[in-house]
Symmetry: D2
């Protein structure tokens, strides 16, 4: 089973818009906060990854918005590693307020070298950590599933 | 052919992150700026739509990030109406710097009544405008296409 | 002595800019998060204040930036009520990383009625709470101090 | 007379908050957009300044909020160089919608070397440009004025 990590976010007034709810762009920022926590708990923090000379560059993102978050809410944002290959990886996210599912999403990333911005393979230090966290015994791409 | 509308955006310093490029959440905000222009040019501005008592609530979004935008860039963001049904609609977006395609994306929306937040049908004032702009002779959902 | 309230903020990647530090506009958002907590702890949350029919509209803000916050930091943001008059009030803020003072700031606010946006007096429900929290025995404006 | 530079900003939906107006933190971002234009027109763009090895690090900011900007507005943001010394400088800003003054503000900055973050003197290439734009015949600090 994929191990997921969770952060709690207190909605900020600045995150609302004149519709009276959280503006949809903020969910990507919440996902990122959960992904930061995921990295930390997986065994190497994202600042450490950058210090090693790598960026986990985003290549795709998808969000579904089911119910709105509002100022005054505390929401839980979970992040799990869905799959990992030698050059790419995908995280999945869920945003909940108590038992209600507000949003689901995913982000795909490519490894890039900091010094020149060129694509590269997963940092060798992360291979075992990430396979373990994704509960995989080898690199594997996305399921051939309908999206 | 779907008619598209375009806005020019000057990258803001605050939109960059420590990777030295525009943070990916800002593309949703640029898409929204292009969608605002689309509404204006389609014949009814989004402030007018809200004044009529409706919200065009976002239900899904997808972004692909191909090349990074940077501080100092001016980018063009286009928006077109991809399809429209009685209760939903989808816009498509392209972000370019000169001839280079930086990002493509889409957003899906549902009509909602301002007074109570309930889903509703497209405002009657918009039916003909939107069908014309989507170059459709009747409501039609998304193509059964692989995504 | 003025009683101050504190929140802990984990720096978000999206809050950094290409200088490699937190962009200065985010401090206002952190101050607001601390002010939200202050309201909650003072006895009436800001959502409750809005539900009563009032806005605490900002009229001025000042920030001093001493040291930069960075991605990976956890910072503490404190908020205290500096003074309160019948129509206005001022909060003061400090942002610290461990013992280091990163930023100080203040915001001034006017009471406004939600229904028509007109200035008004402090909600009667808040008078005693705010005087107690500011440790004042009556309304008092800012000290005649050099700024 | 100090020469000022102006940009036009179309209010973004994401810049509003649930008060129905532009959130106050965005004014700093608009000031920055006008400052970017000021640099460009003064003779050396801010990306060129960074490429030379310098940052114009913010040390203080002040904003006064008089009237609210709203979604649908186009506002003009002006920037002028108020004073410049060997190590610091201050810009002043005005935000207007047609003839109405919405906000005034200022930002103070220190020169910093990119390579090590240490304070430094104004880049020699900018001395004459900035003195001319500030209409000064020599470096001069802030007026001894009441604030």
């Amino acid at each position: 089973m994929k191990r997921s990590v969770e952060v709690t976010v207190e909605v900020r007034y600045a995150e609302t818009d004149q519709m009276g709810i959280v503006h949809h762009a903020n969910y990507l920022i919440w996902y990122e906060l959960a992904r930061t926590r995921w990295c930390l708990e997986s065994g190497m923090s994202y600042p450490e990854i950058e210090a090693l000379g790598y960026f986990m560059m985003i290549s795709q993102a998808q969000q579904k918005y089911r119910l709105a978050a509002r100022y005054g809410d505390r929401v839980n944002v979970s992040c799990r590693l869905d799959w990992v290959t030698r050059r790419a990886l995908e995280f999945g996210y869920e945003v909940r307020r108590d038992e209600q599912l507000l949003s689901t999403g995913l982000t795909r990333h490519l490894w890039v070298r900091r010094k020149d911005g060129k694509p590269c393979a997963i940092p060798p230090q992360l291979v075992d950590l990430y396979l373990e966290w994704a509960d995989l015994d080898g690199f594997r791409g996305p399921d051939p599933r309908p999206e």
